[in-house]
Amino acid sequence: MAPLLELRGITKRFPGVLANDHIDLTLEKGEIHALLGENGAGKTTLMNILYGLYSQDEGDIFVNGNKVTINEPTDAIKAGIGMVHQHFMLIPVFTVTENIMLGEEYVKAGGFLDRKKAAAKITEISDKYNLNVNPDAYVRDLPVGTQQRVEIIKILFREAEILIMDEPSAVLTPQEVDELFKIMRVLVDQGKSIIFITHKLREVMECADRITVIRGGKVIGSTTPKEADTKKLATMMVGRDVQLKIKKTKSDPKETVLNVENLRVMNSQQHLAVDDISFNVRAGEVLGIAGVQGNGQTELVRALTGLLPPTEGKIEILGQDTPQEKPRFITELGSAHIPEDRQKDGLILAFPVADNLILNTYFHEPFSKGITLQFDEIANSGNALVEKFDIRTPSVNTPVSNLSGGNQQKVIVAREFSRPIKLLIASQPTRGLDVGSIEYIHKRLMAKREEGCAILLVSTELDEIIQLSDRIAVMYRGKILDILDAQDATKEVLGLLMAGIKPSDEMKSQAKHEEQIILT
């Protein structure tokens, strides 16, 4: 029997890039097929072709052995293909029913919406697949995990047989991820089939039936979780041996560099985003701040770097009280900031690499004398940094917008690390980067720690936090629920904290015990 879905020789070229190079892929009915690859490997391009957002230059798509032409998403939906996007496409002020029927409305006589009939169908789907969604709830009131299930129902509502899930775990806590994997299992048990796009090895090992690894637009190989191990998968994904675990010496923290007391910060909507937080970071240690995205980390970092005035509390850097809204005063104290959104905050995209490298030192000698900029010095220092930090750019005069994400991030790292710094605030330093760049940036961070720099690392990637931190604070709804020593922090305990549950000491030691059993 023909496979449910077959892609044959799919090729897609973008100017200067071969995004997909003769990709073959089959999906059998009732399986979870993981598509594993780094950012930029071509996974998303392939799925966008399948979903009709791009059209392929070469190759054919077969559903149940019949060739189909997919030019736009409606064609894909007709062919029974649905997609759960990484960023949800929901309208917060609508109810679940309204969101789901949007675009496929049930209508009563007289042109009125038939919400009841739609809600009944939603309840039926929800019960069948164990999704546990209330059709009358407003989307804005739902936790992220539930919103994702609404997206899934949206697809099932349109009678899809094939579900494409694009990095579905990115926005979830570890517990929610477990929950999602259970749901995926129920879906395939009931006869649906899933293509699961990810770059996380652990998830693939946990939930996939089959794994196809893509690198540089090509299929590198297919395997199953039974045959493969994470090390082998990582090597396939990156194309060389990867150091998955970073070597970390025992920390030797010295004087307190950053001291935060009873900090409260409002966000732009005037909601309390940081609620009475106190902590400190000492020279030579990494304090990791874990938490699901949107629990006040952004506002905390903005307050620490002088970009958002706190409403209450004290921030001391090297014993100095920092005045409000004076980012330059704070950087001049010897503090560096790798911002969460490199394109929005960290770079002037239209400016050349050299100018971006002097973005917060341009007023110092030798880059300027009086008020005139010294272009020779700027170019020389730019060239030196490009070399030292291995920034791949045609020249220092190229606008940073032309650089890849990894190289853009290297520009920021080069700029911040080239100053004599005592405190580093790194927010999502590896978001959206390929494994090679992640490895590089992690090494640089650890080197700074060895030099005696105090590092505050904010990340939603739990693996990153656990690997790099000496102590870990977990933020939930603006509060720090607990600060743990890295040795005591298991994924289980951190996951509970990220969900707002404070585990008892018993649970902590038990979780640690269980983890040790798994490890040995």
Binding site: T305, G306, L307, K326, P327, R328, F329, I330, T331, E332, H337, P339, K344, D345, G346, L347, I348, L349, A350, F351, D355, L359, N360, Y362, F363, S368, I371, T372, L373, T398, P399, S401, N402
Partner: protein
Amino acid sequence: MENQKQTQNKPSGIAVFFDELSKSSGMVTFLAILTGILIAGLLVALTTVEVYDAFSISFWSGIKEALRTAWNTYSSLFIGAFGDPKKIAAAFQGGDGLEIRRAINPFFESLVQTTPFIFGGLSVALGFRVGLFNIGAEGQLFIGAMTSVYAGYAITGLPAYIHIPLALLAGAAGGAAWGFVPGYLKAKTGAHEVIITIMMNYIAFKLSDFMLRGPMKDPNEYTPKTPWIQESAQLTRLFPDTIRFHIGFFIALGVAYFVYWLLFKTTWGFELRTVGSNPNGARYAGINTTKATVVAMSLAGSLAGLAGANEVLGLNYRLVPSFTSGYGFDSIALALLGKNHPLGVVLSALLFGFLRNGSRQMQLKSGVPIDIVSILQALILTFIAAPAIIRSIYRLKKPDHEEETIKVGSWGGN
């Protein structure tokens, strides 16, 4: 692999030249102007009765008549802007000074028309570079004219080398004050500069009306006019009579260079451009965006003020109601055409100045209304604003990278 790729398809020098040329934005600008001229010529032919008459005789005579009409229009535009080459040659052979001056006058008159465009264009361009949309150039120009004229007639007994700079500075200061207000309001309250500058324009117009009828009115005149400025405040003219060309043009070029130097060679300019290109990034880099906004609007205002000062100190020698005929508004278009670069502004100011001056002669000679020049300007700007049209008509290649774009703060003042 990179090297291999380069050597493999290394094209010849000429091919590279044309490739680069077709990607450059200069090429687009040139073709936009050319296309604008062609379409405007077509419009002239379409709106001329003689052309239709000729078409009723035969197709070819119609085409001939259309081409003749367009040719006449543009040649009289050219003669109006540059002077008649035949007349110039004859006058130089005759050797009579007055005749020569008359013959070459159109060219210098075009430069006279260009001068306020340079100041105004620089004003708007500087604003755009900092992410601010200065619609208030016209009002700033009025205020600048008013303050400089006041310094011109009220202060007496100064030598020209002090009085002229002083009167110019007074104009710049007046414009700067008018630019400062929207800058300050934007920085402190987030009020959008577009709204504020539009309102400030009305205030400037009415204020100058009031001043001309009241405090600044020449008591010897019946109509609202200011007194004549002192001779020591008049911008020096470089030729004897009939040629009005004065040193204002060179001052404008000097100011254009200064703006270029300020924006691209100094730390202040670096800050201003950073704020204009990415205000979030500027804040992250510790740049005081509030200060940059206020400084930029004040500077933009002072440049527009200089445009007003240049007009009253160089040409009119007094202020009369509604004297500028829209230099401030044309400056917005001109700044866009010049890609907000001082050199580009000077070049497009020359284009606008020559077109404006030539259009009068064109109307006299060929009977084509002056408005066709406005249409021509509008066409050119449309093509500049939508380069995709030009690129697709002439099958140009897309540039390798995004051109440097200027972001103007959204409504609500981000």
